[in-house]
Amino acid sequence: MAFSSFREDIMALVTVSQVSKRFGRVQAVQDVSFEVFPGEMFGMLGPNGAGKTTTIRMMMDIFEPDSGNIALFGEPFREEHKHRIGYMPEERGLYKDQKLEPTLLFLATLKGLDDKTAHARLEPWLKRLDLWEHRHKQVQELSKGMQQKAQIIATLIHEPDLVVIDEPFTGLDPVNTRLVKEIFEEQRQAGRAIIMSTHQMHQVEALCNRIVLINKGVSVLYGRVAEIKRDFAGNAVALDGEGPFDQLPGVLDVRRENSSWHLSLAAGVSPQEVFRALAALPDVTINRFEVAEPSLEDIFVTVVQEEQPANGDAQEAREVDYA
């Protein structure tokens, strides 16, 4: 099956076309396809071991796909592309016994900046992310959040056209999370493409205009967030009341949101069916019942739980995690 472009009017910065990768007995990624365009923030979602990181590593030329094609900037991967990419991997690390400033300068020069430019760009970044006072400290003396911000600098300092970030908000407090979101938005407005791989659905919902959801190595959802949510409308209900809501047929997930309950429904289950089931229960009190717009989390749960294997063997094999 040929992969058709999402947009015809503009060249994609990243085109992943029916890419597959197997590690021994484990099919890590199978026929995954998506495109990422300049000036967009693209979310890559999926549970642990879904194949997100393997897909990213294939994009970064760390792994070679068994089949399928990957094009960056309109052509197959070339060594020169590395200078146009900012990558913050899931497994983060900086030289712990080295000082912050020289470490970041070194990483910046590896991305093609000369010493003078690297120095000139580093200072405002350090100041903006409250690391200026800590620039002479060893990396291991910095808090986890500070190290995270340092890595964000290393990812962006060379002003890459494509930014790929795995779990960008891990370890950040709310203030810094807001700051980093602002920075990403600025990068997007500057025409850069940002691929964000994360489990934090609300962040994706707030930041990304398009997503791909990968589960068990397969792309199960792909498109604009608004369109996906429209397609899944009716797949969630919100209610006030008391009762054993987790026992209801057709309900995949129940969670408390403030004083209300939020129920994610399986595909094909209508809110009316849930309402009838509730009414039939003797020990349930309902004060409010309404059809809710599904959040990405609802959609994620719906799609992922429907894809769960019948027996545990396949899942166990997947836990030999190369992703």
């Binding site: 990558y87 497994e91 690390g93 070194f106």
Partner: protein
């Protein structure tokens, strides 16, 4: 290529700024200098520079010959004081004016018995012996050139017809320097390659690897680091060699060194030829170990065993001096991991045949190239295996050219 040099520079500066490097690099020369100084001071303090007296009953000795040009190092010689009578010499000895005296009997040299008198410690006799020899030669009524030959002794140059090398002319420079130089050279290289193992392990453990390989390619990464470490090793060797040279020059002012010190350039040339492939071989092996193992400690244990393959010639040191061309040593010369050390150790005591040098160097280069090739594959395979070791079957698969 720029990233290759950046990687090398970063690794070099990172290493030379560590405390352990400063301690090792400055500590070893400091130790050498201290040992040299202690030796010189001890030699000076023990040396008795008091004059030596002599009584010449035969009227044989010509005082002027003590300044003879055949006798070298005039400024280092002790003064000789002639006495007419033994009583006068004895009185001078008892007064502490001289450290001892010699008595030539009447009828010398037909009556060749020379007696020596001293109190406590025997007087330094080599200068007086030179003086007597110079007189014997001068009175033999032979040509001046022959006189010089007799005083200085024969100059024998041994030539190995197999290799054309000159051997045995200067035991110290010919045997000891290649041995010591080889050891220094090799241990510095082993040390820096050990760093390479640590680096590959560290990059995996601190998760820097993934950032680096999306900025540089594996060759730039490992090659640049290896080059930086070679530069570290060469810095150490240069500083140590300087320390040795300064110590030798200073020490030679105070103590007599066995033989003239000349640089054995042929040895240096051979070592330079063996250095790069030997280093590449070790670096490749360390990269394979670092990539395939999960923890640095585990890698170091395996590397420790592999190091035995390189230092094996040490165990045959006695054989090297007693039978340097034995079949076992020829085998060790040809075997890639032991060739560097074996050639260095055999160099001073025998002429290593050209065919052995050519064959061992070729084998070394071929093995080093194959190891680097394998290292690149295993590195790619194992660089992101956090907490997972690379199975042997995967290494074998990589060896066959397949991706495991």
């Amino acid at each position: 290529m720029r990233n290759f040099w950046l990687m090398a520079r970063y690794e070099y500066l990172k290493r030379v700024r560590t405390r352990s490097f400063l301690l090792t690099t400055l500590g070893v020369p400091a130790l050498i200098v201290v040992i040299g100084l202690v030796g010189a001071i001890t030699a000076l303090s023990e040396r008795n520079n008091s004059p030596v007296g002599y009584v010449d009953h035969a009227g044989f000795l010509n005082e002027a010959l003590y300044a003879d040009p055949y006798l070298e190092d005039m400024e280092d010689r002790i003064a000789l004081i002639p006495y007419a009578e033994e009583e006068a010499a004895r009185a001078a000895l008892e007064a502490g004016e001289i450290q001892g005296y010699y008595v030539l009997p009447a009828g010398y040299p037909q009556n060749p018995q020379i007696d020596s008198y001293y109190m406590g410690e025997a007087p330094a006799g080599s200068d007086f012996a030179d003086f007597v020899r110079a007189n014997l030669v001068a009175q033999a009524n032979i040509a001046p050139a022959t006189q010089a030959w007799l005083v200085e002794g024969p100059e024998v140059t041994v030539r190995d017809l197999n290799t054309g090398r000159e051997l045995g002319r200067d035991a110290f420079a010919g045997v000891v320097l290649p041995l010591v130089g080889g050891f220094f050279f090799f241990f510095a290289v082993m040390g820096s390659s050990g760093f390479l193992l640590q680096i590959v392990g560290d990059e995996k453990e601190n998760r820097t690897m993934e950032i680096l390989i999306t900025s540089v390619n594996p060759l730039q990464l490992i090659g640049g680091k290896a080059l930086g470490l070679i530069a570290v090793a060469l810095t150490q060797i240069t500083l140590w060699a300087l320390a040795v040279a300064v110590t030798v020059i200073v020490a030679s002012r105070f103590v007599e060194l066995p033989g003239a010190l000349t640089m054995p350039w042929s040895f240096v040339a051979v070592m330079v030829l063996y250095f790069l492939p030997s280093y590449a071989l070790i670096a490749g092996m360390m990269t394979v170990i670092g990539s395939a193992t999960t923890e640095l400690q585990q890698g170091q244990q395996i590397a420790g065993i592999l190091n035995l393959l390189f230092i094996a010639p040490f165990f045959f040191l006695v054989l090297i001096f007693s039978n340097p061309n034995s079949p076992l040593l020829v085998f060790l010369t040809l075997f890639p991991t032991t060739s560097f050390m074996t050639v260095a150790m055999r160099w001073g005591v025998t002429g290593v045949p050209t065919w052995q040098l050519v064959t061992s160097w070729t084998l070394l280069v071929a093995t080093a190239a194959a190891t680097i090739w394998l290292a690149a594959r295993v590195f790619r395979l194992g660089m992101l295996r956090y907490g997972q070791r690379v199975a042997m079957r995967e290494v074998v698969a990589a060896l066959r050219g397949m991706e495991a």
